[in-house]
């Protein structure tokens, strides 16, 4: 079940400078004269479309970025594309980090949610992926498929009972004996970051196991047999052999999970909701957006700061991120 990830990025040697060298049309048609020129033009259309799409794709973000440096009047009177260097200001950034909104605190909150919610599932899923890949037991395949089938489960389906559990603990009322057994005591998790860690960990499990299993199960079998003959137990093999070899896939999952938890709004809104002191950035900027335009001037700056960290992570570690996406959806 190996996942062969072909190199995603291949720089082609030819530059796009001369449109006629770009292959895109029909090579057999090479009539002479003005028709030829029209054909050369037609052949450059695909390149044109591609770069047009690239421009269209970047315009929204660019507009937000530019507007984040303009004050309220400038934003309201002219479009961002008419920006003049003289009107650029950092006031919006001052305001969102300052007394008016306290974005700094919510950035900390986001980090406090995203970092543990990334680390905890990695460890647990790595154990399980190894177990599914290299420990032989009855019903292994069925259990694995059942686990991975949960990949598609919409998390909405678990939210209400989870919130109830974090608010009140969980108990089971025995019908005949008329007594209630407390299964999970009330740990006072309502509105805490811990509740989001647990939820994120649970929801990440199927994908994490699937992703790591794809990789770990493709490690060479001889390696494990040699180690077994040397008398190494599963624990040793896992710790000394599998973990170091799996760094790339662990990194891929970590990036994935970090972006997911940093950008999450639904779980944070459900579990933390109104608890203002623990609100992550997504809730903060969503609230700013819902303020009937009162904070419209600082919204671009706030949204940009919120997106800045995932974008940095994305560009710095794009290779791993792409690998994660590919391994998670394409099976080789």
């Amino acid at each position: 079940m190996s996942t062969v990830v072909p190199p995603v990025v291949q720089e082609s040697g030819e530059g796009p400078s001369d449109p006629s060298t770009v292959v895109g049309g029909d090579d057999r048609d090479k009539p002479a004269g003005p028709i030829n020129r029209i054909y050369a033009f037609l052949r450059s259309i695909p390149t044109g479309i591609l770069w047009l799409l690239v421009i269209v794709w970047s315009i929204p973000t660019l507009g937000l970025f530019v507007n984040s440096f303009r004050d309220r009047d400038a934003q309201r009177s002219t479009g961002w594309w008419k920006v003049s260097p003289g009107e650029l200001t950092l006031d919006n950034y001052d305001e969102i980090f300052g007394a008016r909104q306290g974005l700094g605190q919510s950035l900390l909150n986001s980090a406090a949610i995203a970092i543990p919610a990334t680390i905890i599932p990695i460890a647990i899923a790595a154990f399980a992926a190894y177990g599914f890949a290299w420990i032989d037991f009855k019903g292994r395949k069925a259990l694995f498929i059942a686990t991975v089938a949960l990949l598609a489960i919409p998390l909405q389906v678990a939210l209400i009972p989870l919130l109830q559990m974090f608010n009140n603990g969980a108990s089971l009322t025995l019908p005949l004996l008329d007594s209630t057994i407390v299964l999970i005591p009330d740990f006072n998790l309502a509105g805490t970051t811990t509740a989001t860690w647990l939820t994120h960990t649970g929801f990440a499990m199927p994908f994490a196991i699937f992703l790591l299993h794809n990789y770990i199960s493709s490690l060479p079998k001889d390696l494990f047999e040699a180690a077994r003959i040397d008398g190494a137990a599963h624990f040793t093999i896992f710790w000394r052999l599998v973990l170091p070899l799996s760094i790339p896939v662990l990194a891929a999952f970590a990036i994935f999970q970090f972006l997911w938890t940093w950008n999450d709004y639904l779980i944070a809104n459900t579990m933390i909701g109104a608890n203002a002191s623990s609100q992550p950035t997504t809730i903060l900027i969503a609230n700013l957006a819902g303020d009937f335009g009162r904070n419209e001037d600082i919204l671009p700056a706030a949204a940009f700061v919120q997106s800045f960290i995932p974008i940095i992570v994305f560009f710095a570690l794009q290779r791993y991120f792409v690998r994660g996406i590919l391994a998670g959806s394409v099976k080789g």
């Binding site: 291949q10 400078s17 591609l50 420990i135 004996l177 709004y265 969503a286 994305f314 394409v330």
Partner: protein
């Protein structure tokens, strides 16, 4: 480069450490995580080390394992202040677990070192009874149970039956399971179902001795395993240790809550009374969820009409093609493009005429899934092997890193509509109003733009004619359709039909003023503009996966096709596309699941107003806004049911691929 990265990482770590000591929030989080991780790791590694003993040091394993069980029993009894002497200072925290560990450890040692069956029987039953007697004696007066015979009998019987059943399922003697299950059932019945404190020392002793005896008999049936059996035990325990934590999380956080949601969806808003399927029927009868009254309007909607025209063209061309080649529809055939886009537009038109949450969700699924996949595929093909591929793909892919909330805000500024008397600050309205000005104006720019459209129209017609002459009607279809669109646009632009294109309004006295589009507020098309946000994000996802699949198509196949004289488009339709069909399936299913639960975009932009409600947002509102648990749960289940086919498809695929 490598050093730069290491340096950057070092600075980052230093910064984080500094941060951790400055910010109390980070510090407490950090400390909690470290403690939790260390404790879990300690337990996990400890369990591994314990089961490392199984293969070679059986006695040691038995002693430690029994001692751990005993310590847990000690902690449970002593920690809950059930036993005499508990709750008095630190000392008592140690005594209970230590006593339990010593007693159980001794029993484990006795069993591990003895192989003679009769002596094992004596040790097992004697030891268990001794432990049971001690427990019965040290229970505080206030916890002595008063017996409820019915409860005990029923509970024990149920436990025994369940245990026997489980044993039978595992193809083992049912007596063993029955004994264990009976013991647990007895404990539940005698202690759990009784009024504690009303009994006497005698009842306490009996309540403790009976399960001890049952377990003793069960233990007496065992024998020390030989090496082979120990290997099996080693393997099984390892499977549990490695997979158990993950399964525990999945069970507690996903499976059990999902089942409970199903149960809650059958109860009323306070989860008190059973209302059967009322929550579900209320979803389907509510006009906000499903409103088909104006469905006939679809026949007059523009996308529907254009779609029908495209379908008509597809049929006509298909018939002509059949006369020429004998095959009407085949991948790569020019009937496919108008067929697919025609169907999409017809569906789109139909969705604009019907209203409601369910319709909206379906609309989202059809449009976002289709356009994201199509655009992703187009970009993957366009960028393949072209200069600047890496850069282009990075830009298209980047929205994947941005939160849906952030994306909604980014697009909010694209969609901004200002008062028509002032300048438009949203890109789309600026373009729309500008186009209106061009179309209704009479200056030089109007002429230039008009000439450019005319030139494009002529070019398209020339291409169309050339294709028609050289290759027959088949290859003239796509440029022909493009020519029709451009021609229609030109006719409207110069005002042969209507007053012009773009955002303008002509008053009765003939004066022309600007008119904006309220992209987010105008029903029903605002749904589409919200979908655009999601398409903007998901196209990158589709592109990355499809691009990798295209690059994985064997070069020999493409070379062979080219040598046989296939054109680029023929290579794409007949070689590349069939090769990546499975991957397209993966992309489509993943997108469907993602779109079904779309929440953030709708929540942030409209919060379901202006006819843009979707299931996930309605579910959130009902469950957490209006505290109507039953309806919220029913909506969650509906989302789940909608993705169920995808889940089943995925399972089938995995089973096939082994």
């Amino acid at each position: 480069m490598e050093y730069a990265r290491i340096a950057a990482g070092f600075v980052l770590v230093l910064g984080l450490v500094y941060w951790a000591f400055v910010e109390p929030k980070i510090r407490t989080t950090f400390v909690t995580v470290v403690i939790a991780v260390a404790a879990s790791a300690g337990i996990w590694i400890g369990a591994n080390l314990l089961f490392d003993q199984v293969r070679v040091h059986w006695t040691r394993f038995m002693v430690i394992a029994s001692a751990v069980v005993g310590a847990i029993v000690g902690i449970v009894l002593h920690g809950n202040l059930v036993t005499i002497g508990s709750g008095e200072g630190f000392f008592t925290w140690v005594v209970g677990p230590l006593a339990g560990a010593a007693a159980f450890g001794a029993l484990g040692y006795g069993l591990a070192v003895t192989d003679d069956p009769s002596r094992r029987r004596a040790i097992a039953i004697g030891g268990s009874l001794a432990i049971g007697a001690v427990i019965g004696l040290v229970i505080r007066d206030t916890y002595h149970p008063e017996f409820d015979a019915v409860a005990i009998v029923v509970s024990t019987a149920i436990g025994a039956a369940l245990g026997a059943g489980i044993s039978l399922l595992g193809k083992k003697a049912p007596v063993r399971g029955a004994l264990t299950g009976g013991a647990i059932g007895w404990i539940a019945g005698a202690w759990g179902g009784a009024d504690l404190g009303d009994g006497s020392l005698a009842t306490s002793l009996i309540a403790a001795l009976v399960p001890a005896a049952l377990i003793g008999v069960r233990l007496a049936m065992t024998s020390n395993p030989d090496y082979r059996a120990r290997l099996v035990l080693d393997n099984r325990s390892r499977a549990t240790i490695f997979i158990g934590p993950a399964l525990l999380f999945i069970l507690v956080m996903l499976v059990i809550p999902a089942v409970r949601t199903l149960y809650l969806s059958l109860l009323d808003d306070d989860s008190e009374d059973f209302v059967r399927l009322e929550n579900y029927t209320s979803v389907f009868t509510d006009r906000n969820s499903l409103d088909l009254d104006n469905w006939t309007n679809m026949f007059t909607s523009i996308p529907f009409i254009i779609g029908m025209v495209l379908l008509g063209i597809a049929v006509i061309v298909g018939v002509t093609m059949k006369q020429r080649t004998g095959r009407a529809v085949e991948v790569g055939n020019p009937t496919v493009a108008p067929l697919v886009f025609g169907a999409l537009l017809v569906a789109f038109g139909a969705f604009t005429a019907m209203r409601g949450t369910l319709i909206n969700n379906l609309w989202w699924v059809v449009v976002v899934t289709f356009l994201s996949t199509a655009l992703g595929l187009a970009i993957a093909v366009l960028a393949d092997q072209r200069g600047g591929e890496r850069f282009a793909k990075s830009i298209i892919f980047m929205p994947m890193a941005i939160s849906l909330v952030g994306a909604s805000i980014i697009w909010r500024f694209v969609y901004t509509a200002r008062d028509t008397s002032t300048e438009q600050t949203g890109v789309l309205n600026a373009l729309w109003v500008g186009l209106g000005r061009l179309s209704t104006g009479s200056g030089l720019p109007t002429l230039i733009f008009g000439a450019a459209i005319l030139l494009a129209l002529i070019g398209l017609l020339m291409v169309c004619a050339r294709m028609l002459v050289r290759y027959g009607p088949g290859r003239a279809v796509v440029p022909g359709i493009a020519a029709i669109f451009v021609g229609w646009f030109f006719i409207r632009y110069v005002g042969i039909i209507g007053t012009g294109v773009g955002g303008h309004r002509v008053a009765e006295d003939g004066t022309v003023s600007a008119e904006t589009v309220f992209f987010v507020q105008e029903t029903p098309y605002n749904n589409f503009w919200l979908m655009v946000i999601f398409i903007w994000i998901q196209t990158g996802f589709a592109m990355v996966i499809l691009s990798a699949a295209i690059k994985a198509v064997p070069t020999e196949l493409i070379e062979a096709a080219k040598i046989d004289g296939a054109t680029s488009s023929q290579v794409f339709w007949r070689v590349t596309l069939p090769q990546i069909a499975t991957t397209i399936g993966v992309v489509v299913t993943t997108l469907i699941v993602g779109v079904m639960k779309v929440f953030d975009i709708v929540k942030v932009t409209t919060n379901g107003q202006f006819g843009s409600q979707v299931l996930a947002n309605q579910m959130f509102q009902e469950a957490f806004g209006f505290t109507n648990t039953g309806k919220g749960a029913a909506l969650a289940i509906l989302i789940f049911v909608a993705v169920l086919p995808v889940m089943i498809y995925n399972i089938r695929r995995m089973q096939r691929e082994g």
